[in-house]
């Protein structure tokens, strides 16, 4: 499905855009609760994955490539989460938070998910993309 920027994230983004608070690097996380992102979400709405081998991924300014146009888009390289044990956990989507504040920026449920992480070496790959319009 399309990513969703909840109301709380709009607040953060406008504060950044209008120079009320400084922008931060971001952290990419997977969520394991079966929810559909909604406008009223906060970071607490999501239950972070915790399968063995899971590590949230840091995204810095250098991670993003911004392409002007109509629409302008920002894309990061593909990011990979790796299982390091035999286990069983569904991941339903990903969310991006500010690294320092922990505040949510956006979330997206996997269109063809959830993905079951069950084997040692299973991978979940996410290519973050954000489009202006």
């Amino acid at each position: 499905m399309t990513l969703l920027v909840p109301n709380a994230a709009e607040d953060v983004m406008l504060q950044n855009i209008l120079n009320k608070t400084a922008p931060q690097n971001q952290t990419l996380k997977l969520f394991k609760n079966n929810i559909t992102p909604a406008e009223t979400d906060t970071e607490a709405t999501y239950t972070e994955a915790d399968f063995t081998g899971y590590v949230p991924i840091a995204l810095t300014g250098a991670s993003w490539t911004i392409t002007p146009g109509n629409p302008t888009s920002a894309a990061a390289a593909e990011q990979t989460f790796t299982s390091t044990a035999v286990q069983s956990q569904n991941v339903f989507g990903y969310y991006v938070v500010q690294t320092t504040s922990g505040k949510i920026l956006w979330a997206e449920r996997f269109t063809n998910g959830p993905y079951l992480v069950q084997n040692n070496g299973d991978l979940v790959k996410v290519t973050p993309q954000f489009t202006g319009e």
């Binding site: 109301n7 983004m13 209008l18 302008t72």
Partner: protein
Amino acid sequence: MSLVVVNAGEVSILELLFNKRAVFDTTLHLFTSNTTPSETDTFASYTEATYVGYSSLIITGTDWTITPGNPTQAVATQQVYTAGGPGLPETIFGYLICRGNPGHPLLWAERFTNGPYTLLQAGDAIKITPKFTGE
């Protein structure tokens, strides 16, 4: 009409959000060209007001009040341009919000819905309350 965030403005905003660019205050400008804002505009697409007493205004972070909700809104304190003497009359069609950097990189533009407004004499004023709505 609704404001238009130009393509170059989207780049600036995304670079800022993703921590690729240093923060900046914004500047507010009036334009006198009969221009309807469009996505491909830059600051050079507009003619800035020139009447005596005119200067662009700086809007800092503390000028903005952000109200979370659906949609989330940012509203700045009312900005007032007051005409001096020479250079009048001058007709104002809308305003621009730019990065406060040299060359005034354009972020967004809005043409006055019920404009233009003509400044006829010293003391005439144009008042703008900048607003930006997320959705």
